[in-house]
């Protein structure tokens, strides 16, 4: 026990307000050996981030932390004085956060922020500057000396996360806590960031605690996994065991909910007919400033078809959706085959479902008000209750405001809103990216069911190939604004495709394949991984 980097026994955290007290972590115990990677998996609200904060000794206002033992790097975190706590944070641990853009101070150069850690150790200015450049170099940032004088908003998400990693590892901590480190990053960047962490772990020998809702990611990185459900550690074991033979009902549910890249959808593809297009897009282009976001994209969207659009962030996929919906000005042509324009009264032709239902629902309108208004605007014939039932929403939810709903319920409301009346085309822009995996599966089911029932055409935009494969009849791949591939789904996964598409598929497959790999049988050519498996 004394050799563990982390030793947690019966950790309990509760938040209390003046009226009530909620226990969010309920008696969690685990150990992490030096150099080991331990993963905590759970959905939002399961208490996993709270555990991470408890390990750093950071106490959120109103939180009560108790434990039989909470030892990190040989220190009892609960027993440290303020100054001891600061020294402990400065030397023993590093934390990488979920949203690097928000974890970095927007008004300080990234170099200054990394240098702070060295200055804290007592290094003088010149030394700290040189060490900062070295630290930025180590995390693979280009031209680190110049890079240090840039501000966070001038970097991409992946670069920001590398800066945060450089900052966390600056003074060689014994424990690196990774709190959803790649959520919000693209599949390719995610692979790169995780590979970087794996590689640095070999070099520097720190232990990691990886916290994520993404089970395959955790399984790929960690030797042991703990599954958290509402503050209770319901299962723990080796990564392969948990992923391949989950024993607890909740873990089974998590594993089952994973959209599997290997399995195609069961959709009846005969119903879709791309030769009878609903929408024809010709030469669609869009520039922001001097930067080309969309470059001469031409395609058709068939009646009754689900067209998947994939690409990394910055590939122009969201711009494509917005142009299609008429939300931005663009060059080129988007024309509907039928002359809907002559419908009286004029009704919208397009509806959109956005990534974040929090941002797309008016916080001061109840679900009933949202639905009633949408039915009126879209010329629907049903009632509010019928709309709720058709999207699997409990009628009791109708009187609630958005903040009283869960993430999945909110997204259902946003989807229902788009289906309130007869609309020929629905555009979904990353509709499940902000949701937990189990909820994600249900929302995808709902979208599929609605499509079959109503026969509308769908444009489904996502960075997640597995999700798109499950739903789409055809997939278009966008890269730097250009449509590099457009093919029926199965053909795209098996056939002759653009090099970029291939790399996209490869990194998606890799991410999942690593998940089921047992550490002991790592491929021989797989350098550092074989190394870690010893």
């Amino acid at each position: 026990m004394t050799t563990s980097v982390v030793s947690v026994d019966n950790l309990r955290v509760s938040y209390s307000t003046s009226r009530s007290s909620v226990e969010v972590v309920r008696g969690v115990s685990f150990d992490i050996a030096p150099g080991e990677s331990y993963g905590l998996v759970g959905e939002s609200g399961s208490g996993k981030s709270t555990i991470a904060l408890a390990l750093t000794g950071h106490r959120v206002a109103g939180a009560t932390v108790t434990a039989d033992s909470l030892n990190v790097a040989g220190l009892d975190v609960l027993d440290l004085s303020q100054s001891e706590l600061r020294a402990f944070r400065a030397r023993k641990i590093g934390v990488v956060y979920q949203e690097p853009a928000r974890a970095l101070n927007p008004t300080m150069t990234v170099g200054a922020q990394v240098a702070e850690v060295f200055r804290l150790r007592g290094d003088d200015r010149g030394l700290a500057r040189r060490e900062t450049v070295a630290a930025l170099d180590r995390v693979g940032l280009p031209d680190p000396a110049t890079f240090a004088s840039r501000y966070p908003h001038e970097l991409s998400g992946g670069q920001q996360q590398r800066v945060v990693i450089a900052m966390a590892l600056a003074v060689s901590p014994e424990l690196l806590i990774l709190d959803e480190p790649t959520t919000g990053l693209d599949a390719r960047v995610e692979t790169e960031v995780m590979a970087l962490i794996d590689q640095l772990q070999i070099e520097l020998g720190f232990a990691t605690l990886l916290i994520s809702h993404n089970l395959p990611l955790v399984a790929a990185h960690c030797q042991r996994i703990g599954v958290l459900e509402r503050g209770v550690l319901v299962e723990h074991g080796s990564a392969a065991d948990v992923l391949l033979n989950p024993s607890h009902a909740y873990s089974k549910k998590l594993v089952a909910a994973l959209p599997d890249l290997a399995f195609a959808s069961a959709r009846n593809r005969d119903s879709a007919d791309e030769t009878d297009p609903l929408v024809t897009v010709t030469g669609l282009s869009k520039s922001y400033g001097g930067k080309r976001a969309l470059d001469n994209v031409s395609l058709t969207i068939g009646r009754n078809e689900i067209l998947g659009i994939v690409g990394q962030s910055g590939s122009g996929k969201s711009t494509f959706g917005r142009a299609l919906a008429g939300l931005i000005r663009y060059d080129g042509q988007v024309s509907f085959t039928d002359s809907f324009e002559r419908r009286r009264p004029a009704r919208p032709l397009v509806q959109m479902v956005f990534q974040s239902p929090d941002a797309s629902l008016n916080p001061r309108r109840t679900v009933r008000q949202v639905f009633a208004r949408s039915i009126e605007l879209l010329g629907g014939t049903g009632t509010v209750e019928m709309l709720a039932e058709s999207t699997g929403l409990d009628l009791a939810l109708l009187k609630l405001l958005p903040h009283e709903l869960s993430g999945g319920q909110k997204q259902r409301v946003a989807i229902a809103r788009a289906f309130a009346g007869p609309v020929p085309l629905v555009i979904c822009d990353e509709p499940t990216s902000a949701l937990d995996v189990s909820v994600q599966a249900l929302v995808l089911d709902l979208l599929e069911e609605l499509q079959e029932r109503t026969g509308v055409s769908f444009v489904f935009i996502s960075h997640d190939l597995a999700v798109v494969r499950r739903l789409a009849d055809r997939i278009g791949v966008l890269h730097e604004g250009r449509l590099v591939d457009l093919a029926p789904t199965e053909q795209l996964f098996s056939g002759d495709v653009d090099a970029y598409t291939e790399s996209l598929i490869a990194s998606a497959v890799d991410l999942r394949a690593r998940g089921v790999r047992t550490p002991a049988v790592a491929a021989p050519g797989d350098g550092w991984q074989a190394n870690r498996a010893r």
């Binding site: 944070r89 974890a103 101070n105 840039r150």
Partner: protein, 330 residues
């Protein structure tokens, strides 16, 4: 020189260049509007200046000499031409050159406004940040209620009460601040304190509120948490991670207030008989002193615009994200 600092310097120079063009254009439009609006005020400037016993011929001659006869366009061109070469004309009411009058009063107003500003800003920052660190506690609410009540009371009421207390009962300051324009530095400061405090109180509530929300946003932000978990001391966190981010939203309000304060305040100047620009403008408008009013408006406008420019520059220096380029938002 790194690329980013070059970019920022270009942004700053671009901003300055743009303002150098914008400011004169705005002032020109303001001067035309003021000139035109003044025609609504009844009365003949020559008659106002010479009194009721002057003959019609004398009035006409006076109007001609002072360039206030003929068509509106000729009058305006005459005035603006003079204004640019430093000949601002003769005040119709005071019979002294407008330039001296305006610049002297402007000096007084600038001094008073600056004094009020110097009192107001530290107090607002201290109160606002103290509130943010005590958010939701009793002291936070007490300060909010106190400041809002203060700002709900009109300036002249607050002024009169303060005059009663400090000038009439305690006799630490004079009732009239007219002497403030002369005398040695500490005398002037003593005389100006009461009007400056009254001016500052008027804006304090809103400013404190801004500081409070800015600070509260900064200390609940994720980068603040990052700084805490880095192991930095509280003092370092405040100095390096809070102040700048907390004050960025406040800065925009501050620029507007600075301009308003420096341009002179009618109520406070009148109440304390302080010889500032605000009181002078009221007299000029009242007596249809076209030339005086025009020059006064131009100067006040210029001061406000320069104050805004000053805050814009501070903005660029404080927040690297700020760019003043129009950009398509979607």
């Amino acid at each position: 020189m790194t690329t980013t600092s070059v970019e920022r310097r270009t942004a700053l120079l671009g901003l300055l260049g743009k303002r150098v063009v914008q400011i004169p254009v705005v002032l020109l439009v303001v001067s035309i509007l003021t000139f035109w609006l003044l025609q609504v005020v009844p009365g003949n400037p020559g008659r106002n200046a010479l009194g009721q016993y002057a003959t019609a011929a004398q009035v006409t001659a006076w109007n001609h000499d002072n360039g206030v006869d003929g068509s509106l366009v000729t009058q305006y061109l005459h005035w603006i031409g003079g204004f640019f070469v430093g000949d601002w004309g003769q005040s119709l009411v005071y019979s002294t050159p407008v330039r001296e009058l305006v610049l002297e009063r402007l000096g007084n107003s600038l001094l008073l406004g600056l004094y009020a500003f110097v009192i107001m800003v530290p107090v607002a920052i201290a109160l606002g940040s103290a509130q943010a660190y005590r958010e939701g506690k009793r002291s936070d609410r007490a300060i909010t209620v106190g400041l809002l009540s203060l700002s709900a009371i009109p300036e002249f009421v607050v002024g009169v009460v303060l005059l009663l207390v400090f000038a009439v009962w305690l006799r630490v300051v004079p009732v009239q601040s007219a002497a403030g324009a002369s005398g040695d530095f500490f005398d002037r400061l003593r005389v100006m304190t009461l009007p400056a405090v009254v001016l500052a109180l008027g804006y304090l509530a809103v400013l404190t509120r801004m500081v409070r929300s800015g600070t509260s946003e900064a200390i609940t932000s994720q980068f603040h948490r990052t700084a805490v978990i880095k192991g930095l001391s509280s003092a370092t966190i405040v100095r390096r991670h809070v102040i700048r981010n907390a004050l960025v939203p406040t800065l925009s309000v501050l620029g507007i207030y600075l301009g308003t304060l420096l341009g002179g305040s009618v109520i406070v100047e009148t109440l304390f008989s302080y010889p500032g620009l605000g009181a002078l403008m009221v007299t000029a408008a009242d007596r249809k002193d076209v030339l005086l009013l025009e020059s006064g408006v131009m100067i006040t406008g210029a001061v406000s615009l320069l104050a805004l420019l000053f805050t814009d520059i501070c903005f660029v220096l404080m927040d690297p994200r700020i760019r003043f380029n129009a950009r398509e938002t979607n």
